[in-house]
Every structure is written in C-alpha cells, then in structure tokens.
Amino acid sequence: MSEVNLHFQRGASDGSSADETPLAAAKRITGLPLRAKRTFSGSLEQLPEIRVFVGETAHTLGGNEDDAFACELACDEAAANIFNHAFERQHGAIELHVWKQDNRLVMQLHYHGKSFDPSRIPEPDLKAPLEERPTGGLGLYFMRQLMDQVTFEFDAVNGNVLTMRRILNIPERYGFMQLSVERPADDTAVIHIQGSVDGSNFKQLIDEATTLHGEGVKRIALEVSACEYMSSSGLVALNAISKMLRGERPPETENGWAVLKTLDDARMAVGKPQLVLVNPTPRVDRVLDLAGLKNLVPIYPDVPSALTALA
C-alpha cells in the first residue's frame, strides 16, 4: 500500500472546493466532529507533545495500538523534517489536524516555510557500504512505509500542507498474501504476488511454485509490484524456488536464513535465468539489496521484458 496518488486531490475527498486554499480548507473543516486540531509552536522540543497528541487522537478515533504507533512515528518524522528543513531550525508553527474519513485516519500538517521536491529525496540506499550511507531520507522513507498515502502541497503564500493517510484496524497488516498465476507458455509462469510475504505465508508461495513445477514449469517470473513487504522468509522462498527450478533439492525452509548460505553465486550468474523478479517496490527492493539477492535474482521493470529474458 504505497502511495497511489502523489498529488493530493483537494476537493475530491474531503468536500472542499477546488479553488479553496489549504488554510481556508483547514478553517472550514475545523469544528467538524471527530476532528482534533492543535498548533505546535517552537522547534524540535515540540516533538514529544506532538507524538502524545497524535497517539491519543488515533486511539480516540478508533485506531489500534499499531495504528497509534505508526501515526506517532510518521508524524514525528514529518514534524522533525519541517522544524529542521522548512523552518531551517528557526522557530515556527505547525497546525496539526487529525480526523477520520471513512476507515482512514488523516493527519494534516499546515505550515509556512521552505518547500522541497519529495521526488528528489532518494530512497535510503542500503547497497551503499555502511560507512558511506547518506544520513538523509530515512524520515521520509518511514513516513511512506507507515502511511498508506503521503502527499505534499507547497504554497509560498497560503502555506504548505502535508497530508498523511492510513487505513485503520487492518488486523494483520503484513500477514496478507494473494497469489495469481498466468501461464504465457507451457514451461513459463508469471506469479503475481499481492500483499506481503513473511513467515506466516512464505510456504504458500513455495507450494504454488512446486505445483507449477510439477506441471512442467521451468521458468518463473515473480511479479511483485503489489507486494508491499518481504521479510527474510520471503527471501528464503526465493532461494527455495530458484533451487527447485534448477532441479536441485530445495533447502529445508526450517533453517531460515541459514539456507541462504547455500546460494551459489557463480551458478546463478551464468546461463539463462530461470527465476526473475518484476518491478519490486522500493521497500522490497531494499530488502533484496540488503540481502545481496539483487545480483542473484535478476530484476525486470515489467512482465514482457522479464519473459524475454526467460525465453
């Protein structure tokens, strides 16, 4: 559930008119039920209070513990960035609105200050040697991981608005996985993975691949553009499937991470790939990077190019 829409559609979802300024919208919506608003003036010392306010409001609006924590951390990161960068460490004021809209909690931070281009903030690069990692970008990364939608609007005159939305009370946010299979050729399958691959369901993925293998499939493209999260168990599944396609006995998955030791870099590097990944999200990409799997399981931007590589 990464951002689906980078541009906050004013008027589309909260009943405001298209030409309404963010601050006018804020004025208008103040006083609606199930809405909390508070202004935090000063600098970084405001962060603990902001977290308390957001956490309590998230609870009041019906969020569970995970929701409250996610909102606290995301808002902390957002406010810290504003105090540090938009206000350039001078004092400033953030007007914070929190409300519920359908099943979503919405947090909106209104402030005046320096703007920036969110698309120019790079994803934290975990492939970089640890000593060379840039120190920036982690806060924005957290906001995007924790929230279902993060949008920025910059207006030098009327003020900037940062809006973050999160769907409340998803019982197992990271435990849901849905697989769908396409067979573009007798020996080739595309598995679309939706949701998250983790310890609770990675065997289901291996089972699906095993079934396909039994039906004569020799090459698999895992299309993971809608896979929000992959834990180390997901990596174990990739390794198991890769081995199976090469005709080797799959490793004991109970051994968890240790089976990744059995990855044979050289053999993976030569010849045609039998297992490829398609369009991983930045988050999954990072996990692959971190585990060194990106060099072993080739990645393609779309299904056609993946199929060409496999054919």
Partner: protein, 130 residues
C-alpha cells in the same frame, strides 16, 4: 534523556551504555556525542542497553549508524559484511543492542538495521557474546 555507563567483563571488557528515555530528533545528538566520547576514550566493545527506551525515531537510527561506523573493525570490509548479511551469519561484532522494546524493534526492522546489528535480549548473554 539519562545516560550512564557500566563496565562488564566477558572475554573482552564491554562498555554498557544505559539509555533512559526516548531517542528522537530532540535527543539523538546528546546520545550520539556521549557515545562517540566513549569510543574516543577507548571503548572498543559497546553494548547499548535499550531496556528503558520506549521510543526511537529515524534520528536514533542515524546515530546508531554513525556509532557503528566508528566501531567497525578495520578487517571488516563491506564485501565481507554484505556476504555475512546474506548468509544470515553477520553479527556486528563491536556494537550490540540490548533488549529493545517492541516499538523500537519495529523501527529497527523497518529500516533493515536488525539485519546487521546484533540484538540481544539478556545482559549476561550479550556481554558473553562479544
């Protein structure tokens, strides 16, 4: 934030930094400079006791990253570390964390820091692991 230090003795002397309070943008500098001071004054093996840290934001992670870099052994090159992380066998040898709360652990996991920082749950085991 309250910071205090104790010395433990396993196979090697271990400096234990006890942190009390949240590590966020308001406090990470204090935490980082205090810790870097310990390293500058000779601490080579550092255990950060997080038992009384209810909350950590990305600012705390950046501080941990800096401290980790300061403590890295010269023999550890990036390739070796990367391979070890892949194999699930890498444990940061000179910087370890003790008993992070569920929330702090979530933050560590979300950033992938749990994959290279050794996280221990018991003080005695943690000290013995250095």
């Amino acid at each position: 934030m309250e910071l205090s230090v104790s010395q433990e003795h396993g196979r090697v002397p271990v400096t234990v930094l006890h942190v009390k309070g949240n590590i966020d943008s308001t406090s990470y500098q204090e935490f980082q400079s205090y810790t870097e001071n310990l390293v500058a004054n000779g601490a080579q093996d550092l255990l950060i006791d997080l038992r009384e840290v209810p909350y950590m934001s990305s600012a705390g992670l950046r501080a941990l990253n800096q401290i980790y870099n300061k403590l890295r052994a010269r023999s550890e090159d990036s390739g070796t570390v990367s391979k070890g992380v892949t194999a699930g066998t890498y444990k940061s040898p000179h910087l370890k964390l003790l008993a992070p709360s569920a929330r702090v652990l979530e933050t560590l996991k979300m950033s992938g820091f749990d994959m290279f920082l050794d996280i221990q749950s018991k003080l005695a085991d943690a000290v013995a692991s250095f």
